[in-house]
Amino acid sequence: MSSETKQILTTDGIPLEVSLKKAERKNKIKAFLLVAPLLFFLIITYVFPIGDMLFRSVDDKMVTQMLPKTFKAMENWDGQELPDEEVFAAFHEDFIKLVEDKREGKLSTQLNYTKNGFKSIIKKLRRKSKSFEEGNYKEQIMSVHKRWADVEYWRAIKRRAPEFTSQKYLKGMDMYVNEEGKIVSVEEDRRIHRVLWLRTLEIAFFVTVFCFLMAYPIAHLLATLPMKYSNLLMICVLLPFWTSLLVRTASWMILLQQQGIVNDFFVGIGLVADDNRPEMMYNKTGSYVAMTQILLPFMVLPLYSVMKTISPSLMRAGKSLGGTPFVAFWKVYFPLTIPGIGAGCLLVFILAIGYYITPALVGGASGTLISNQIAFHMKSTLDWSFASAMGLMLLSGVLVIYWLYNKLVGIDNIKLG
């Protein structure tokens, strides 16, 4: 009986499943071909760069490849005393090769990242190494500079042996691996990244809160007003979307600067003294104001789309059953808008956490975010691997938020419209 139901044949005697697959295949191929361009586009512009970023942020092969023999010889070195002649000879051999290829400068830069003081002693070693005699390299190298006789420097070289490193990630958290190989924080006055991470979270959080507080009534109005008014209001909400981001940010600069329109107005109505105009830009206030305005539509639209589906009779039912307007709102209307709130907050928070142009233009020193730091390392210091590491930390932060949200609210509860 069961075998009969398993093998149902078509009238032509072909198994039904085979026939079905054959019939569906054409459609499947068509569907795939339709999405294929997007798929390739995503792979090229998204998956591949992120993979490259991940690789770049942990990649530390450069020194490994420059000193292959040295690191091989160092495998047996315990790191307590100075290494023995074998290591020095291997280092000399590697070094001569680098000098021939004119790459010793790169080595000095790289080693200097690990420990300050390598630059000058490598320069000196290059000069002196020309007159080195065969054998007893330990003595000869140590005589070049007293640092070459310092075990700390040899340990620093050994730390660069692994092909991969978590050093950039640690640096992003203001931490490093010290001489004993322990992970420690940098001195308090040199911790710049932690401050930036916290500030990024803080600004993103408050921008989300401000957006929510402003968007909720707007979205409610949009959803309940008669069509002709709500259309007009919708245009007002969407207008920022149709304006260039730079134009919008620039207009905030005109409004918020110390001689700007808002300050003029405050002086005009006597709220502040003319010689004591508050700074509303090039600080956190500037970032808050401009980012809230720019991200507001991302909160309004999901809220609106959810509120639109809530029947007005639910509020009426709440009231007719004896709930005051507030109770009816809080117990009936508000819980039903939670999917929209979740979607809007998630969207705004994630966008805010990686915001770049606006804080760069109006944020000043105290209003910049981690993304500005990433851009700084991409453009100015050219430490791309560090920029990649921070970018990935940001990405994983977003993923954690997404995961948390899924745990708390459930992703399928989200409604973007």
Partner: protein
């Protein structure tokens, strides 16, 4: 304890939304305590507006509404203590059935054990015991409807409003729900104001029916009176099936009038005609006209059968009678009437008191 005659009173109520058109005109309506009153009318006739004014979601433009002797225009909806069943049920989708029913009790701060008893009672009233923990989305339309009814009754309101509550259900379910609501009303004696555009629903359930048209109550009376004795031609045509003749009164005397139709005089019951020469529309229910009439009937005419439609328990026969080719007869399917054939001439008779001469509109 005598039941109040004017438990709910609409006193000269007008309602306009735009300041130009009156949706409700000079409404005067008394509803007795414990009564089941249906507001029946075509869409746009103002019946739902009246209900919304009673519930407090619309304010009267003029006039006053009294509930149990108190003017309620200035009382917000949540303080009126009126239960309401909405067209689309309006169950709170994020709450279980239990929480939906507990909502009106919680806002009234009723202790939990007492509230639980009331909820149990209300659920058993609509035979939904055991559904308390379900979400509304997991219930069928009929079950949701019954939850909505239970919720509107759970806090023991004196008055329950129902706004086309059965509109979304299929025909069979609708009919069984009609009886169910009717029985609940009979058992607990609550006053119900019910809005519908479905006349059979109104006839089945109500003590009295208010027929609305054009912002006015055309007739307020019991279902049988509404059907048998419509006071104007709108009601006659809106309720049930109706044969009409348009003519002119040629004589009026002794509680009967003669109306001239297509050169033939027929006898009718003068309801809204007063004198000779008035135009009138005569309304006659199909089942009051008989084929093979007995000789006592004072109207006997012959017509030609134009159409015969078989309906199972009866046959509908369309006849061309006195120039009206839309004259409908309902003939019970018995062996005596088997000779109804298309194109045949037959005699039809009725009593003049069943032919009501109404206004000509």
């Amino acid at each position: 304890m005598a039941l109040k005659k004017d438990f709910v009173k609409f006193d000269k109520v007008d309602k306009s939304y735009d300041g130009k058109v009156l949706v409700v005109k000079d409404l005067q309506l008394d509803i007795e305590e414990g009564e089941f009153v249906t507001m029946l009318g075509p869409s746009g006739s103002g019946k739902t507006t009246c209900l919304m004014m009673l519930a407090g979601f619309e304010t009267p433009t003029n006039g006053e509404i009294y509930l149990d002797g108190k003017a309620i225009s200035s009382i917000p909806p949540h303080k009126r203590g009126i239960g309401m069943v909405f067209q689309n049920y309006a169950l709170f989708p994020h709450m279980t059935v239990y929480e939906n029913l507990a909502f009106p009790l919680r806002v009234r701060k009723i202790p939990k054990d007492e509230a639980d008893k009331k909820i149990d009672k209300a659920l058993s009233m609509v035979s939904l015991q055991g559904f308390a923990s379900r979400m509304p989305g997991q219930l069928s339309g009929g079950q949701q409807q019954r939850v909505a009814v239970a919720r509107s009754l759970v806090f023991d309101p004196q008055l329950v409003l129902m706004d086309e509550p059965l509109g979304a259900l299929d025909k069979n379910l609708r009919e069984s729900m009609q009886y169910e609501i009717k029985h609940i009303h009979e058992n607990i004696g609550v006053t119900v104001v019910y809005v519908t555009h479905d006349q059979s629903e109104a006839l089945t359930m109500s003590n009295r029916i208010a027929v609305f048209n054009d912002g006015k109550v055309q007739q307020l009376s019991s279902p049988d009176e509404l059907y048998e004795k419509p006071v104007n031609s709108f009601v006659a045509e809106f309720i049930g099936e109706n044969n009409t003749f348009v003519g002119e009164v040629s004589d009026i005397s002794g509680g009967k009038c003669k109306v001239k139709i297509a050169n033939t005089d027929i006898l009718a019951n003068p309801i809204s005609v007063k004198g000779k020469g008035e135009k009138t529309k005569i309304s006659l229910r199909p089942e009051r006209a008989l084929i093979n009439p007995s000789d006592q009937m004072d109207n006997i005419h012959s017509g030609k059968i134009e159409e015969v439609i078989y309906h199972g328990d009866h046959t509908r026969v369309r006849i061309n009678l006195l120039g009206n080719n839309q004259f409908i007869l309902k003939v019970p399917n018995s062996s005596a009437n088997l000779d109804i054939k298309l194109g045949k001439d037959i005699k039809i008779g009725w009593n003049s008191e069943d032919a009501r001469a109404l206004d000509p509109s």
